[in-house]
């Protein structure tokens, strides 16, 4: 089956194509080069339309225990957005915490074809993958959390050999079926279980005597040497605390040239100027990033309205629970492995703090010059639900709209941010980097995020509308592996996506100390902790794609 998309304006940064008119050919699910002799089975006239690869969300909390806790917590939020079944699609609920099927439909209807759950606890990996399996139309993957698990902390504090630590990282990635590793409040989730209420970058964990800096460097170096493409994904210390920009700057400096991805950096960019001792640190972050080319970020943009925050950072979420709106929240200590905190939140445009958070996010986007190192996220649902992306894109692309919107927010907040002075407007090419090419390169997805020959046939076609919010809300056509799944912003066919993982090399002898550890301390057997391929493939319902890693190195 050969299909042809004729005459669209193509934005494909991975292949240096910037708005040129090109024909795109797809055969058997993949993009192919033009072959004059090939018979075209189906042609789509997309003249005047904008053509991009399917979008990729590299950081969105869409599956796993804490999301389902958040769903349980917020029935009244679902009642705002109940979705009926159709002949094609299942019923569910939307708004801030969409149910799994609705998550898949709505992302696809927005032109997204791949999403990555960034906080999968090893102990909860099976459930996270079960939820992702119930999320149709999208390719998916998950980042496994390490660095507050007691075993890693024991290994670091007990001076276990670095090669063995690397084996454990790699084993965990296999066991949890992960594509990357995330650290959340390094050591802090564990410290909270020992009643420590804060843990700064160089503060010692009360029991293990090691610091977040030790943990970050161990994991970052470990992943580099294991050849994992995506660098350590860091949710840093002190989330949400005024003055935490200093911690973030120190974290960047601590890397000593090691690659790192700093996630939802908006929540970590707070300075302490002004009467309220809360101001933007975005300028300092953007400045330092120019000097550290190995650091990438995503924003975690805040948008106004009701949402629910869901994080592995039990320590900071417990602290934030006093601001819960509505007043109900869940904090959990989990399996000597991790934790979680779920706190509903309503961002208000007239609130000084919330308006400043909103401004800091936008400032970060507009100040960071290299679009390849910044990804478009709201840290769904923490900053805002993912369906606000088209609005966010318009804020980035349309200076006039941004100014207009600024007039509606708390004006004092804008005095402590450089946002009103920023004139930059993102181009379509840059948006394609932020939402396609950049995340694909960072995650090592060889055949996603671009539409050159060999890529999967994941393609989004937009009407070129001057109102970019309208344009990005309702794509005209979305293809998944060459099949048309969305027309005019509505799902017309439901398919299942694949699960992307990496399989870095490890020495099998690590299973001996691991088995001892599980047998002595755990309530789950090592053999059962591990998630088998069959559980994901599930008789053909799922598919596993192993993305390449570099060969293992030693320092």
């Amino acid at each position: 089956m050969m299909i042809k998309l004729t005459g669209g304006k193509v934005y494909d940064p991975a292949n240096n194509i910037n708005g040129e008119v090109r024909d795109i050919y797809v055969a058997d699910g993949r993009i192919v080069a033009h072959a004059p002799e090939a018979r075209i089975d189906k042609e789509y006239d997309v003249r005047g339309r904008v053509v991009m690869a399917g979008a990729i969300d590299p950081h969105t909390h869409i599956g796993g225990g804490k999301v389902t806790i958040a769903r349980t917590l917020m029935p009244e939020d679902h009642e705002k957005d109940e979705v009926a079944h159709t002949a094609l699609t299942r019923a569910g609920t939307g708004h801030a915490l969409p149910s799994t099927m609705i998550t898949g439909y709505r992302y696809a209807e927005m032109g997204y074809t791949a999403c990555f759950e960034p906080a999968m606890l090893p102990a909860n990996a099976r459930q996270a993958h079960m939820e992702l399996a119930d999320t149709p139309l999208l390719d998916k993957g998950a980042f496994v959390m390490l660095g507050s698990d007691d075993l890693m902390l024991r290994m670091i504090s007990g001076k276990t050999s670095f090669e063995e630590i690397k084996d454990y990282i790699a084993w965990t990635m296999h066991a949890a079926q992960a594509i990357a590793v995330k650290v959340v409040n390094p050591g802090g989730i564990s410290a909270f279980k020992f009643n420590q209420r804060k843990l700064d970058l160089d503060e010692k964990h009360v029991y293990y005597g090691i610091t977040p800096r030790d943990i970050i460097l161990t994991l970052a170096r470990g992943l580099l040497e294991l050849g994992v493409t995506h660098p350590l994904h860091v949710h840093g210390c002190n989330l949400g605390i005024p003055g935490n920009v200093e911690t973030t700057l120190a974290t960047i400096r601590a890397t000593e040239g090691l690659p790192l991805h700093l996630t939802h950096i908006q929540f970590h960019s707070y300075a302490t100027e002004g009467d309220r001792h809360f101001s933007s640190g975005a300028v300092q972050i953007a400045d330092l990033l120019t000097k550290y080319p190995h650091i990438s970020i995503d924003v975690g943009q805040v948008m106004f309205g009701q949402t629910c925050t869901a994080s592995g950072d039990s320590m900071r979420q417990y602290n934030g629970s006093k601001n819960a709106d509505p007043k109900r929240w869940v904090v959990m200590d989990i399996e000597c492995d991790a934790g979680c905190g779920v706190v509903p939140f309503r961002y208000r445009d007239k609130s000084y703090v919330h308006a400043l958070q909103w401004a800091i996010g936008l400032e970060t986007f507009l100040l960071c010059e290299d679009p390849w190192r910044i990804f478009l996220t709201t840290d769904h649902p923490n900053g805002a639900p993912f369906y606000t992306y088209p609005h966010l894109i318009r804020l980035l692309m349309d200076r006039g709209f941004r100014r207009e919107t600024m007039q509606r927010v708390n004006q004092d907040a804008l005095k402590y941010s450089t946002l009103p002075m920023l004139e930059r407007e993102y181009s379509l090419y840059e948006i394609a980097v932020l939402t396609r090419a950049g995340p694909a390169r960072s995650l090592g997805l060889k055949d996603l995020g671009h539409i050159g020959p060999g890529a999967r046939g994941d393609i989004t076609v937009y009407k070129d509308d001057a109102n970019r919010e309208t344009m990005f809300t309702t794509p005209e056509l979305v293809f998944k592996n060459g099949e048309l799944i969305v027309r005019d912003g509505k799902v017309i066919k439901v398919v299942n996506g694949a699960t992307h993982v990496v399989r870095p090399e490890y020495n099998r002898s690590i299973e001996k100390p691991l088995k001892d550890y599980f047998d002595r301390y755990h309530t789950v057997r090592m053999e059962n902790f591990r998630l088998s391929d069959d559980e994901i493939i599930d008789g053909g319902r799922g598919e596993i794609i192993v993305q390449p890693t570099r060969s293992r190195a030693s320092s």
Partner: protein, 462 residues
């Protein structure tokens, strides 16, 4: 229908096969360290609790699909079930005792046929859900408690009877991870007639028993709550006794007031004030205390308020130390059903798809209430694990997907025997702490199809 045992080899019909690291589906703890040997269709468990042993070793009576008591082929039974569902205006999907795949299949057919779904044991679960959905909580999980707890308050629950290996695995375990932390534990039992015999051994420092009648446990909890907050019990100047008609809910919330008027001074529900004080002090001094309950055991009136009292004590203690709740129970696949329903619809069970979209009402769509009050015009009941979750009495036509030998209050209109996850087919289940889920093996006991397979066949036949 064609499931073959893992490890089965042709020509080895009579041979024994031993399976290690077997997950047990018979209670919410999902112990996964069982060793089970199968000879033919007979299973033998070498290290199970009484419930596991009874579950695995129960001889499976022969069972055939039945339509109105007449033996039929599988296909005929599926057609008959589909026919009944097609005719129904409001089908009820109950029982839901199955694994995640079974829950997915119930959700799929309930969505498609505009039905209502609920789990047989959701009454217990709702004692927790109501608290989560109004105030939230601070909770822990089994491995965390096993390694960290230095104080356990076990409330109103005969844990040893419900979960035969809980003490063995979580409380009296020989090893724990943190030197100097939780080397010794204090266990407090609050409730009458609780089996405390398993709380022994070198890890146990002290066992305290407050044999309080179940309906007065909220008073004792409220007094502990007051002491933990630093309020005197009773207040120094007791207000006038409330009028007698303000019983029930009000008195449960105001136990100090009630006790000051209705019981002799210096005790609450038979517990001396000094005893209350001692517990409150232990809670405050604990480094990692844990409040343990199993919601099905909280059969007192307004049990959700009792759960709320416990979680509020936990919340208060976290201002200065660490404390968490641990909810047990979760038998018959209840956590699997609730979790799957939550991620697929946003709501934990008791969902109606009657208008096409999920509508949630924890009172209205309580399927056992609906059955009692004659709502709905068809009941499809899934009971693939234990035999106790049988079909309730009802006047509407019934379709039962049950393990052979399941208790039935009346002969169902259609009966289709199904296998048990973790014995007759593989699967996945969610543990009582709602975090960990476990894989279940196919031990090759029978060729019975899974509930999910049968439901998919019925849905395909609609």
């Amino acid at each position: 229908m064609t499931a073959h045992a893992e490890g089965d080899r042709p020509g080895e019909q009579g041979a024994s096969h031993t399976y290690d690291n077997v997950t047990c589906p018979f209670c919410g703890l999902l112990c996964d360290d069982l060793q089970v040997t199968r000879t033919g269709s007979t299973l033998k468990v070498s290290n199970g609790c009484p419930r596991a042993t009874a579950g695995f070793q129960r001889p499976l009576p022969p069972a055939k699909p039945l339509v109105r008591d007449r033996e039929v082929s599988f296909e005929e039974a599926v057609q008959a079930a589909a026919g009944l569902i097609r005719q129904a205006k409001l089908p009820l999907y109950g029982g839901m005792a199955s694994d995640v795949a079974g829950a997915r299949a119930v959700l799929s057919i309930a969505d498609r046929t505009c039905g209502v779904l609920d789990h047989a044991l959701s009454e217990g679960q709702y004692r927790n859900f109501r608290v989560v959905q109004t105030s939230g909580w601070i909770m822990s999980t089994l491995t965390e408690v096993r390694n960290r707890a230095d104080l356990l308050l076990i409330v109103a629950t005969d844990v040893h009877k419900l979960h035969g290996r809980f003490f063995d695995r979580i409380v009296t375990n020989p090893h724990s991870m943190f030197e100097g932390v939780a080397n010794k534990r204090t266990v407090v039992f609050i409730g009458e007639g609780l089996d405390t015999s398993a709380a022994t051994g070198p890890r146990i420092e002290e066992v305290i028993t407050l044999p309080v009648a179940k309906d007065r446990i909220p008073e004792v909890l409220a007094a502990i709550s007051a002491r933990v907050r630093g309020f005197p019990v009773p207040p120094p100047e007791a207000p006038e006794a409330p009028p007698a008609k303000r019983g029930g809910l009000f008195s449960a919330l105001m136990p100090a007031v009630r006790s000051s008027s209705s019981t002799p001074a210096h005790e609450i529900a038979g517990v001396p004030f000094a005893g209350i004080d001692a517990i409150a002090e232990k809670c405050k001094k604990a480094k990692y205390g844990v409040m343990v309950w199993a919601p099905p055991a909280l059969s007192m009136p307004q049990a959700d308020l009792t759960v709320h009292l416990m979680t509020e004590i936990v919340r208060e203690l976290n201002l200065h130390t660490r404390f968490a709740g641990l909810s047990l129970g979760g038998n018959e696949g209840a956590p699997s059903a609730a979790s799957t329903c939550t991620w697929q619809t946003g709501f934990p069970l008791r969902v109606s798809f009657a208008n096409g979209s999920p509508e949630y009402d924890s009172y209205r769509y309580n399927v056992s209430r609906m059955i009692d009050e004659g709502e709905g015009d068809l009941l499809l009941w899934v009971a693939s694990i234990g035999t106790d979750i049988g079909l309730p009495q009802t006047k509407v036509p019934t379709v039962v997907l049950g393990t052979p030998g399941v208790r039935l209050a009346q002969p169902p209109t259609v009966y289709i025997p199904v296998g048990t996850p973790g014995i007759d087919h593989r699967g996945q289940m969610v543990r009582c702490d709602n975090v960990v889920s476990l894989p279940l093996k196919n031990l090759g006991r029978s060729q019975l199809p899974s509930a999910a397979t049968v439901l998919a066949a019925i849905e395909a036949a609609l």
